[in-house]
Structures are given as structure tokens and as C-alpha cells.
Amino acid sequence: MKSAEEIFQILKIEFGNSILGLDKDTPTEPIISVDPLQIHRVSKFLRDNPDLQFDSLMCLSGVDDANGNKVKNADGDELIEGGTLSVYYNLHSVSLKHKISLKVSTSRTEPKVESVENIWKSANWHEREAFDLLGIFFLNHPDLRRILMPYDWDEFTTEVSRHPLKKDYKNPEFYQGMKVPY
């Protein structure tokens, strides 16, 4: 059983600059920030290190941080430009019973994060969901398709209505001839 600080120190020694920082201000578990293109290596270490043994990925959540500039496009829709999208990883060790949260932030225009699918299989659908709802692209994911929204959603929608959980999402008027708004 290790505390978040200890885990952070272990990771810092092992990976150096790939570990961006430790956020201790949250009311619950502290969050370790990681480079989005190093997350696979870090995760593999977290799982295989005998002192850590994070064998289970509880949750993987994509988040639109909405920290960019708000601009209006030609149609008058408010869009967010710049800023970041984040992915949070909540890890848990069944054998050692400790928990840790990781966070990666990637640019909103070209969101790319390494997939951890081959470390924790449970990441597969969570990553597909983050891709579906937020448009985060997971590198090396074996089967990155939409999961919840229809496969042909893109054909009926415009750029602002691709990924519904983005903060500047706007409903399309019609999908396959069915009116979407009330």
C-alpha cells in the first residue's frame, strides 16, 4: 500500500520529464499528470512493478477542459478554439489495495493519446467511448470506432456536432430524416 506521493516519487525517478506534476488540491485522490505520448510506458510500469501492481483500470474518462478562447463562427455558433482535452485514469490494485489517478492533457485541435488497451483490456471500450464522445484519438488502439453513437453519425452532421460531449457541441437538425432537437 503506497500513498500518491510515494508513487509520484517512484514514477519521477523512473520517467523523469514524462511525469509532469502532482496535483494535491483535489478533495480526494491526488492526480499525477503524465505526458500523453508516454502514458503507455508509464502504465506498463505501473502494472508490472512489483511494488505498485496496478492490475485494474477502474475508469478512464475523457474530459473537455473548455479552457480555450471562445469565438463565433460564420453561423453564429460559439466555438472553443485552442485549449486542451484531458483523459483521466483511475487505477486500482486488487492485490495491494491502493489507488491512484493519472491525467494526460492533449491539444484540442489534434488530440492524440497513447492507447493503454494492451495493458488493461478494460480500456478498450472506455477509449472508444472517449473517441466517440470527445474525438480524442488513441494511438495504437486496435479498433477505434464509434461505440455509442451511430456508426454513420458523421455523414449527417457538421464539424460542430461530431462529438457530443464537447462543450461547444451543437445538435444537428436531422439524422437519417429524423429531427434531432425537440
Partner: protein, 163 residues
């Protein structure tokens, strides 16, 4: 003689009687498509179970649309599902009836505003005979909906329909 006179004066006793028989048959054996969508499906199942017993009214679930008379849209219809429901409806042979069960199927329910993937009312895709309100409706409400549907069938006529 009074009763008989009245019926004869209608001039259509044969059709009227056949109508009555056919309507009676249709309304007392409404076989539903065994098909649940969301929360309401559990209440729909509960209606078929020992406590409420849909079978009293001759309602039994059939799993294939070809042998079903009524489809109970029990729950939220999403855009992805709406097309499938439409196809199921088209696969059912006439005469067919639709009960829209629960607020979601009626109008989108609690998901009416922000539900980007929820169809706001099944009547945007297929015609509905009876709406049952509630979230989810109690089994009694569904039974009431069935009785309403039966009332509707009772007033149908051979003459109006082109079979």
C-alpha cells in the same frame, strides 16, 4: 321484437355481426412483440408476471414481429434504435397496433432537452394508437392502456378498412 327490429333497420346486420366477431377476436388476442427497450420494459415484464398477469386479457409475448399484433414501445427510443423499430413495425402483418409506453416513447421524457441521441417521441417514426404516460408507468397504467386499445379496436369496422 324491439331489439331485432332495430338491428334489421340498420340494413347491414351481416357486416355488423361479422365486424363484431372480428373485432372481438382481435381485441381479445392482442399478442405483443416481446421486446423491451429500457426501464419501462421491466414494468412491461412485471405486467406479464404473476402479480398483474397480462395473459388474462389474452396478451402473450411473441418474439418475432411476424406473429405479433401489437408492439409496446417500452422506453427511450434512440436515434440508432428508431430505424430498427421502424423496420420491426414494417415486418408486422396487418392489422397491427402500437402502444407507446412511458414518457420517453411519448415525447422524449426527461431527455427531451439535452438528449442529443434520443428520439423525441416514437410518433415521429411510426403511428401510435395509445399513449401511456408515466416514468415508468405502473403496470396498472399499462393495463389501462391495453383496455383503451381494446376500446379502439371495438369500434373498428370492416367497411372502413381496406384489408
Amino acid at each position: 321484437m324491439g331489439l331485432l327490429d332495430k338491428e334489421f333497420s340498420d340494413g347491414n346486420i351481416v357486416i355488423a355481426k361479422v365486424d363484431d366477431l372480428f373485432n372481438w377476436a382481435r381485441l381479445s388476442s392482442v399478442w405483443q412483440l416481446g421486446f423491451g427497450l429500457a426501464c419501462c420494459a421491466i414494468e412491461m415484464m412485471a405486467t406479464s408476471m404473476s402479480h398483474y398477469d397480462f395473459d388474462r386479457f389474452g396478451v402473450i409475448p411473441r418474439n418475432t414481429p411476424r406473429q405479433a399484433d401489437a408492439i409496446i414501445i417500452s422506453g427511450t427510443v434512440t436515434l440508432k434504435m428508431a430505424l430498427r423499430i421502424k423496420r420491426l413495425y414494417e415486418q408486422m402483418p396487418e392489422p397491427k397496433y402500437i402502444i407507446s409506453m412511458g414518457s420517453c416513447a411519448n415525447c422524449g421524457g426527461p431527455y427531451w432537452e439535452h438528449g442529443y441521441h434520443v428520439l423525441k417521441g416514437i410518433d415521429r417514426v411510426i403511428p401510435v394508437d395509445v399513449y401511456v404516460p408515466g416514468c415508468p408507468p405502473r403496470p396498472e397504467a399499462l393495463l389501462e392502456g391495453l383496455l383503451k386499445l381494446q376500446g379502439k379496436i371495438r369500434n373498428e369496422s370492416l367497411r372502413k378498412k381496406s384489408a
